[in-house]
């Protein structure tokens, strides 16, 4: 069961000469990639190489110090809300409220993403089923284990359809069966024309995925970036 994609024709998501500065340090610079519908990109690199920062830049939480992102050739900065509507971001935290039940947590995020309440209601049930959470749907968030919280957060991806999934170490705290379920969900998402960009240290089966080694993008700096860096250092 692939969630219905609103946009079936091929899309593309690309970055040109992207740079990111954190705490006065260049995390990466001169980074390029391009992704088509159905594509997947795996971010690799040691701790601190900027995988999370890149995903936050791609989601729109961080502004790139240099470079640009484009969707179908149009710059993202022009319409951040349209980008938010086609993107699911999954970060380090699971965003589960301890006093709300699993279904309530999920329904809130689904409705917020897709205000057509009835459609979202059905999708929530299907998403819970998919990640083996159906029997937990009326359990409050505080009773969940770390793996169950992560699965609830992953179910958010299916509860409201989105074309671009940005996953920051999605396999953390997951057991083997759940990783298999996640791999199946990712494969279906890509078969339906979706895109996946994820960072991981675990082995995850993504057939035909491109790889991006982030430790290769530390140098060289583009002209002008040095000035930005000085400004940032002075402000800090």
């Amino acid at each position: 069961m692939v969630p219905a994609m609103s946009n079936r024709e091929t899309s593309s998501f690309s970055a040109t000469r992207l740079a990111c500065i954190r705490g006065g340090r260049v995390v990466f610079a001169g980074l390029d990639f391009s992704l088509e519908s159905g594509g997947a990109l795996v971010l690799l690199g040691p701790n601190g190489s900027g995988k999370s920062s890149l995903l936050r830049v791609l989601a729109g939480l961080l502004r790139p110090a240099q470079g640009a992102l484009a969707w179908n050739g149009a710059p993202l900065a022009e319409d951040p809300e349209a980008h938010a509507a086609r993107t699911h971001y999954l970060g380090h935290h699971d965003a589960i409220k301890p006093v709300l039940t699993v279904a309530e947590n999920l329904r809130f995020w689904a409705h917020l993403h897709d205000p057509h309440a009835e459609r979202a209601g059905r999708a929530v049930e299907a998403a819970l089923e998919r990640f083996g959470l159906a029997h937990l749907s009326s359990i409050p968030g505080k009773m969940l284990s770390a793996g169950q919280k992560r699965r609830t957060n992953l179910a958010r991806l299916l509860a409201a359809p989105s074309q671009l999934w940005l996953l920051d170490e999605p396999t953390t705290a997951l057991d083997k069966a759940s990783i298999k379920a996640l791999e199946a969900v990712l494969a279906e998402h890509r078969a339906g024309g979706g895109m996946v960009i994820l960072s991981t240290h675990a082995d995850i089966d993504l057939p035909g995925a491109a790889q991006l080694h982030l430790d290769q993008f530390t140098t060289p700096l583009d002209d002008g970036l040095d000035d930005d860096l000085d400004g940032e250092g002075a402000a800090a």
């Binding site: 809300e81 965003a95 006093v99 309530e104 809130f108």
Partner: protein
């Protein structure tokens, strides 16, 4: 608009299940006001003279008590990142959270205020004006307070910093709130004071969600 109501509903549900915040705010309000007759003596004319000031100052402090939690829990559990990435303007989401904050703190304060006014021997002429001043003043407190809560997000000892930032901005609400009640008690028109309070509220409504949204984006960078 759907998303706005969705956020309000969720925050109200969270407040209802956790319960502590509203109860804490109203309890603080009641206990502090009840202490004043003990502190300054039971003379009717003295209490009557200070009643408007005591009620407004205490309501203002009580409303500030719960402010640091407005965005803090969402910030800590990652919900704030997802709220920022909602396909709606962030200021709409922020306005929804501020409305929920007012419904869970400002509104209970408004309900408790007339009862405490009786305790402080406020003249009956002042009651409707007290309610009107609270109705116009407490939403302003939630709105302006939201800016402060967003600015101190992620800072250590944010609570102290929050008071320093926000209390000076609360002063106009205090002055015109007390001014309105005093005017009504002395048989003058409270209208000009209330109109200024309404003006402050209108300005806060227009500026606060937008400013807080910018501060929240900064906090998440």
């Amino acid at each position: 608009m759907n998303r706005f109501l969705e956020v309000v509903r969720r925050d109200l549900r969270l407040a209802l299940r956790q319960g502590s915040d509203s109860v804490m705010v109203v309890t603080f309000f009641v206990l502090t006001v009840v202490l004043f007759p003990f502190g300054i003596g039971p003379e009717v004319n003295v209490l009557e003279r200070v009643s408007a000031g005591v009620l407004m100052v205490t309501a203002l402090l009580a409303s500030m008590l719960s402010l640091d939690r407005l965005f803090q829990t969402d910030y800590e559990d990652g919900s704030l990142e997802l709220l920022v990435l909602t396909p709606a303007p962030l200021s709409v989401v922020v306005a929804a959270k501020m409305l929920a904050h007012w419904l869970t703190t400002g509104l209970p304060l408004m309900v408790a205020a007339p009862v405490l006014a009786v305790l402080l021997h406020m003249q009956a002429d002042g009651f409707t004006t007290l309610l009107a001043a609270m109705a116009l003043g407490t939403p302003t407190l939630s709105l302006i307070g939201g800016i402060g809560a967003a600015l101190v997000l992620g800072a250590r000892r944010g609570g102290v910093l929050l008071s320093l930032l926000i209390l000076p901005l609360y002063v106009p609400v205090l002055i015109f709130g007390v001014g309105a009640i005093d005017a009504a008690v002395q048989g003058m028109s409270a209208r000009p004071h209330l109109l200024i309070l309404a003006g402050i509220l209108a300005a806060a409504l227009a500026l606060a969600p937008w400013t807080s949204a910018a501060a929240l984006r900064q906090a998440l960078e």
